[in-house]
């Protein structure tokens, strides 16, 4: 069997830590939003703002890692062969067609995947970060002459949260589309991708 070592130890740690933190943020965030009652507002708020600092710390390491290893290049967008990928998920996958993309150490993500991750990284995450920090420090912002209505800040943060939720659902599902439903999850745990 052909095996490729796709995900280094740091990458896996980053991925799963981030998974836990993002799910924690979504769960507590939507409670703060008033969607349901579980922990209670005070507790949900406390967990949410505690997680955010862990998340920021994690990202400092992740950004450093991407820059120093050059792994950021994995996310350079390309439209090449993207039609084949789309066709695979729309039709081929039901017929047992082989996946048109073969991941390698140099190119871990198929074009559709890379584009999505890039979008999450440069659109959704900054939207959540900037609005979230503005949410946390809105009085200080106002004191500094950058008064933004809380409703506007919350609106941006909520839009970001829905985008992240949408991504999460799609991401988890696509995780089941390896050559076995658990193959991708195993790869993300061990680092080794077993080729189709």
């Amino acid at each position: 069997m052909e095996r490729v070592y796709l995900f280094t130890r740091f990458e896996r740690l980053w991925h799963w830590a981030q998974a836990v933190l993002i799910i924690g943020m979504l769960v507590t965030g939507f409670e703060i939003h008033g969607t349901y009652k579980w922990l209670g507002f005070a507790q949900a708020h406390q967990v949410h703002t505690t997680i955010v600092w862990a998340f920021i710390a994690l990202w400092v390491f992740a950004i450093f890692w991407h820059l120093t290893t050059g792994e950021w290049r994995q996310y350079i967008p390309t439209m090449k062969n993207i039609d084949k990928i789309v066709r695979f998920y729309a039709v081929g996958i039901f017929r047992g067609a082989p996946h048109p993309f073969k991941p390698t150490r140099e190119r871990k993500h198929n074009p559709m995947q890379a584009q999505t991750y890039l979008g999450v990284t440069v659109v959704v995450t900054p939207l959540l970060w900037i609005s979230g920090l503005a949410y946390l420090f809105y009085n200080e912002l106002a004191a500094a002459g950058w008064g933004i209505p809380l409703a506007t800040i919350a609106l941006a943060h909520t839009i970001g949260a829905f985008m992240m939720l949408a991504f999460l659902i799609g991401h988890i599902y696509l995780g089941t589309t390896g050559h076995t439903p658990t193959a991708h999850f195993k790869a993300m745990v061990t680092g080794w991708d077993e080729a189709h």
Binding site: L150, F162, I169, T177
Partner: protein
């Protein structure tokens, strides 16, 4: 023998200990330091019999020569206040409330709470120095009383009152009281302020006699076993000018905490005057609230917490019922509190009341005598707090809404003054006839009265600012950060947990739900085809 020996040993031992006590005389505690430089019982001016209040005041003024002049400048004396913002003439002399409605024509009773002697009608001499009542605020014995019906005078000789009733009001010894004067206490201020509206706890909701000796749970500052604040600790008074007013409250104090040596012109009675603008140490998010939410909103979770119910509404229109003996009917509830009185009507009493909340910028508008009112627009606001999210001056305040139904003139369309208290034929509490009582009340004010009396619903607002709970009893976040919470009706701000943009929520859930449905269908097809 054995017993005798033990007794002897004990006596010797005691003698030894006593000797040791003498030997250690240098270590004895110093004599108790008196806070005051004067013992008023040693003053010859006070060692005499006083037949009346003014005689005591004259004695006081012989040393405190300027005191009455200071008092003359107070609302406590003038019962009159012109609001600098609205230019409305307020004060007890002018406002009409929805309790006993007005002091006019009822001075003899109401003046029990005037800091003077003899305010029985408009003829009172407000320039009189000897008619300032020193004792009502400075009594330390708790024995000083100004019974209703004497225009603010104490009774020094046993007196039958009302005349012919057989009820005796005991005379009090003014000399003993005058010799023990001291600083104001919770009880002295409370003599009037705890009993507003005609009885204990009736009016304010956050002021009642439970504050004479409160525990920490009732008031964290006044806690008799703890900080033991008096009223004047916060209402820090100079020259007898007591700061803090419900006619022109400081709704949003943006100043820092007062410091010794720093010239502070702001109201010293606000929370911020001691606690500043960022009082929650280590809890930055709580400090983020202080620009929108008054301290009182979170720190006074409920009023009337001292086992005394406060009056929440008063319906005068049902007054007039008599019992089988022809006496005014009185109905009490299980706790012994009156809920109906033939001379007053129906009451609703409540304890542990959650306040209502409003934006408040410190300006209060009153409906006064002569202001046109229209029954189709009831309830009429006896007073209303001005404020909004956007005016930059307002905070969200807790208030007691007091709902009433009171007499008015349906022809002239004005509120009316009713002559309630008195031994004459027109007083409502004596004869229970509205037309005569209102006619007499309006006559004393020289105001027109059509002769017709109808009843109109009214509301009054009282700021809630006392009975501050310990911090662990302050409101939890979810009390407001939820749908249908305490601040549900507050407009103009975004409250996380309460508010959401419906369009974004709808699109967001449709998108997330759509993707979920999509992947489930996709997965189901995969499973059915069993290929991948």
């Amino acid at each position: 023998m054995q017993v005798l020996r033990r007794v002897l040993v004990a006596i010797v031992a005691m003698g030894f200990l006593a000797g040791a006590g003498v030997a250690a005389d240098d270590d004895a505690p110093p004599p108790k330091l008196l806070k005051s430089t004067a013992d008023h019982s040693k003053f010859k001016e006070l060692q005499r019999v006083f037949a009346s209040g003014p005689e005591v005041t004259k004695a006081c003024l012989s040393c405190h020569t300027e005191a009455s002049k200071q008092l003359h400048q107070t609302q406590h004396w003038k019962w009159e206040y012109t609001n600098p913002t609205t230019q409305q003439k307020l004060g007890k002399k002018h406002v009409i409330n929805n309790f006993c409605t007005s002091v006019s024509s009822n001075y003899k009773a109401c003046a029990s709470c005037h800091i003077g002697y003899g305010l029985k009608d408009e003829g009172f001499d407000f320039a009189s120095e000897e008619n300032v009542d020193c004792l009502v605020c400075h009594d330390s014995t708790g024995k000083y009383k100004k019974p209703s019906g004497f225009a603010g005078h104490p009774v020094t000789k046993d007196t039958e009152f009302p005349p012919g009733s057989g009820k005796i009001i005991r005379g009090i010894d003014l000399s003993a009281i005058a010799q023990k004067v001291g600083k104001t206490r919770r009880e002295t201020c409370g003599t009037c302020h705890f009993y507003g509206g005609g009885g204990d706890a009736v009016k304010h909701g956050d002021l009642d006699s439970s504050l004479d000796n409160p525990d920490k749970a009732l008031d964290v500052h006044m806690d008799a076993e703890g900080l033991n604040f008096s009223c004047a600790t916060c209402h820090k008074t100079e020259g007898h000018q007591v700061p803090g007013s419900r006619y022109a409250p400081t709704a949003a104090d943006r100043e820092g905490a007062h410091l010794r040596g720093k010239a502070d012109s702001s109201n010293p009675a606000t929370c911020q005057a001691c606690h500043g603008q960022a009082p929650h140490t280590g809890k930055a998010k709580l400090n983020d609230h202080t620009d929108k939410v008054a301290c009182q909103t979170c720190h006074i979770p409920a009023f009337a917490r001292g086992d005394m119910p406060t009056k929440m509404s008063w319906d005068w229109s049902t007054a007039g019922k008599r019992d089988a003996n022809g006496k005014p009917l009185v109905v009490t509830n299980d706790d012994g509190h009156v809920t109906y009185n033939g001379i007053k009507g129906d009451f609703v009493l409540e304890e542990n009341v959650k306040p209502e909340y409003v934006w408040f910028n410190g300006t209060v508008n009153y409906t006064l005598m002569g202001d046109p009112i229209d029954k189709s627009k009831q309830p009429i606001a006896i007073n209303s707090f001005e404020g909004s999210a956007g005016d930059g001056k307002s905070l969200i305040w807790p208030v007691k809404f007091f709902r009433g139904k009171q007499p008015f003139d349906p022809i002239n369309k004005t509120l009316v003054v009713t002559h309630l208290a008195g031994e004459d034929d027109t007083a409502y509490w004596k004869n229970m006839v509205w037309d005569k009582a209102v006619a007499e009340g309006m006559k004393t004010l020289h105001k027109p009265f059509s002769g017709k009396v109808d009843f109109i619903e009214t509301t009054a607002m009282w700021p809630i600012t006392h009975m501050v709970a310990p911090k662990d009893k302050a409101l939890a976040c979810n009390e407001c950060h939820t749908k249908g919470g305490r601040l549900d009706k507050i407009e103009g701000i975004y409250i996380p947990g309460r508010d959401a943009n419906r369009l974004v929520d709808t699109i967001g859930w449709l998108a997330a739900g759509g993707i979920l449905a999509g992947v489930l269908i996709h997965g189901a097809i995969r499973a059915l085809r069993r290929k991948h």
